[in-house]
Symmetry: none
Subunit: 203 residues, 4 copies
DNA sequence: GATGAATGAGGGTTCATTCAT
DNA sequence: GATGAATGAACCCTCATTCAT
C-alpha cells in the first residue's frame, strides 16, 4: 500500500495508526491533553519521535484521527438508536447513558471532546468538533420531532431549544465531573439528570 | 503604593494591572487564548516582556487577574439579582441575559471562562474556574428553592438537576456561538432559550 | 556632601551605605550569595531597586563594600596580633581562632570570602579577594620568620609553604563546614586543628 | 541504543555526551564557569540550543556529567595508589602530584571542582562535590593510618586533622594559582609544598 | 533621596517537525 | 519503517541598570 495514500485516506486506518491513536487516548487519559506531545507519545509507544511521522503527517492529524474514531463510534450508536423505534424519551436515555458510560470507561474521550479551546487554532479540528456536535443535534432533532408528533413529548416546545437544553445539561454534567476530578459517579448522576429532563419534556 | 504589596493583593489592582488585564482580554478576543503569550501581550502594550513582571509575578497571575475580574463582576450581578425580590423565573432571566450581553460585548470573557482544558495544568486556575461556576450554582439554588416555595416553579423538580439544566444549556449556547464563529445573535437566541426553559420550569 | 564623591570614596561609607552592606551580608547568610540580587536586597531594605543606585554605582560596588569591610576588620585584628609580641604559635592561634569565631557568628562572611568562582568575572572583585588573602599571608610571614628566629618554630621549614599549609587547612575546614551545612562546631574543630598544626610546627 | 536510557544511565556516556562535556570543559577553561551557558555551549559545538537537550535533560546534568567524569578519573588514580603498597609519604606525593598535573593540563577541572559557591543552589551538585572530597579524605585516611602503623608517619598526629592539612594546603595552592591568573608553575610549587608537608609528617 | 516603570540582554527549556542514515 | 540528531521558533522568566518624576 502506498505510504502517501494511507496517510491521507480518511477512514481507512492502518494497524499502526490505530495503535498510535490508542496510545494518544491513553496518554490524554493518564495525564492531560496538554501532555499529549509527540515526544511523550513516541515514548509511550516505545519508538522515536520521527517514527510517528511515517504514519501521520502532523500532530493535528493524530488529533483528527482521535476525533474521527469517536465520531464513527458515536455515529453507529446514533444510527442504531434512531432505527430502534422505541419511544422518543427512551431513545433520549439510550443516547445519553451510552455516552456517559463511554466517558466513564474512557475519560480521554471526554478530555478530547471538551478541548475546543485548544483546537481553536486549527480549522480542521474546529470543524471536526463541530461535525461531532451537529451530528448529535441532528439526531436529537429527528427524535424530538417524532416524539412530539407521536404525543410522547409535550407540545409548545421549541425543538432547537430543547436540543440545547439536553445536550447542554449533559455536557455541563461532564464538565463538572471533570473539574471535580471525577469524584462522583457520572453514570448515576446522569440517570438522575435524565429522569428530570424526561419529566420536564413529557406530556 | 508599595510595589510588593499590590502584586499580592487580590482585589486591589493598580491602574497598570488593569491595563494589562484589559490588553490580555483584547488579545484573546482578537486572536485566541493560545495567542496570549507574554511576548504578544507586551508587544500589544508597547513594552518589553520584562516590564510585565513588574506588575504580575507570572503569566498565570495575569490569567487569574482576568478570572478574578470576571468573578467580581459576576458576583455583583448575582447579589443584585438575589436582593431584587423579583419572581424566581424573572431572576433567572436577569442573570442569564446579563451574562449573555456581557459575553456579546466581551467575547474574550467567554474565551477565558471556557478554557478549562488549557487551565488544567494549574491548580489555581482550575480552582478559580471552579469557584466561578460554584458561585453561579449556589445563587441558582437559592433562587430555585425560593421559587418552589413560592409556587413559581413547579414542584417535583430536583434542584441540583435543574441547576445543571439551566447552566448547561446556557453554556452550550455560548459554546455553539463560539464554534460557529459568532455567526448568530447570542442574546436573541438566549431570549428564546430562556423562554423555553421558563416554560419547562413554571407551574 | 557631594553625592558623586561619597560613591567613589573607598573607605568612608555613609550610614546608608553601611546599612545596605549589612543587609547584603544578612541576605547572603540567610539565602546564599546567588540570592544576592538587587531586587532581593532592595526588598530586604524596604526600598525600590533604583534607590540602591543612589548609594552604590553598581552591584559590584556593593560586593566590594562587603569585602572592604571584612578587610578593614581583618586588618585591625592582624595588626593587633602583630603588635601583641606573644609567642609566634600563640599569635597563630589568635589569628585563626578569631577568624573562625567571626565566621561562626557571621556565616555570610565565609560565603563571600569563599566565592571566588563567582567573582571571577570582575577584575576588581578578584583583586580585592587577592588583597585579603595576601594581607593574611604577609602577616603570617612576619610571624613565622620571627618565630623561627626566636626558636619557637622549628627550623628547616620553608616559610611560604608553611603559610599555604596553615591558611589552606583553615580554609578547608571552613569549606567542609559550609558544605556539610554547618553541622559541626567550627570553633571547636578549629581548636583541634590548630593544636595539630602547632604540634607540627613547634621545635 | 535507546535514547531514553542513556540520558539517565550514570556512567555510560554516549560519544555525543562526551563531546558535550568536553566542550563544556573547554568553555570553562577559556572563559569561566559563569560563561558556561546553554547558548554558549551550543555555539561552541556548532549546534542550536535545543540539540543539547537530546543528550542531557538539563544544564545541571551537564555539570554533573563533568563532575562524574572527574570523579571516575580520580577514583581510578586513588585506587591504583592505594594498591601500590609504596611508603605512605610516597603515596601522598603520588596522589597530589597527579592531581596537580591534571589541573595544569586541564584548568577547567579546577574551575569546576572549586565552584561550590555556584553549585550551592542545587542539591545534586553539592552532593557530587561532597562525594568527590569525601572520596579523597577516605583514601588519605587509609594511607595515613597505614603510615602510622608502619612507622612511616610520626605518631601523636590526629588523623582527621592531618587530612585537613594536606587537602587544605593543596587546595589553597590551587586557589592561589587560579586567582593569580596561573602565573606560576603549579606542579613545581606543588613539589615544594609536598616536600614541606612530608618533612612535617615523617618521623 | 526615593519611586515606579521600563529596558535589553540573556537565562534555561520545550516542541513540532525534518532528514540523512 | 525506524533511528538519532538537529532545527528554529517560541516559551516564560530574571536581572542589573537607567531615568523621568
Amino acid at each position: 500500500m502506498n505510504v502517501y495514500l494511507h496517510k491521507n485516506a480518511m477512514h481507512t486506518k492502518t494497524e499502526k495508526q490505530r495503535q498510535i491513536i490508542e496510545a494518544a487516548i491513553e496518554l490524554i487519559a493518564e495525564k492531560s491533553i496538554q501532555q499529549l506531545t509527540i515526544k511523550n507519545l513516541a515514548k509511550k509507544l516505545g519508538v522515536t519521535d520521527g517514527a510517528l511521522y511515517r504514519h501521520f503527517n502532523s500532530k493535528i492529524d493524530i488529533l483528527l484521527g482521535i476525533l474521527h474514531m469517536f465520531q464513527a463510534e458515536a455515529r453507529e450508536n446514533l444510527e442504531q438508536v434512531k432505527k430502534s423505534r422505541l419511544p422518543a424519551l427512551q431513545q433520549f436515555e439510550d443516547i445519553f447513558l451510552y455516552r456517559l458510560k463511554y466517558f466513564t470507561q474512557r475519560p480521554a474521550v471526554a478530555a478530547v471532546i471538551f478541548s475546543e479551546s485548544i483546537f481553536q487554532n486549527d480549522v480542521r479540528l474546529t470543524r471536526a468538533v463541530n461535525e461531532f456536535l451537529t451530528m448529535h443535534e441532528d439526531t436529537l432533532r429527528i427524535i424530538i420531532e417524532r416524539g412530539i408528533r407521536k404525543g410522547e413529548i409535550r407540545k409548545g416546545i421549541l425543538i432547537d431549544e430543547t436540543i440545547y437544553i439536553t445536550i447542554g445539561s449533559m455536557r455541563y454534567l461532564v464538565t463538572r465531573w471533570r473539574l471535580k476530578g471525577r469524584d462522583f459517579d457520572l453514570y448515576e448522576k446522569g440517570v438522575q439528570l435524565l429522569g428530570n429532563l424526561k419529566e420536564l419534556l413529557k406530556c
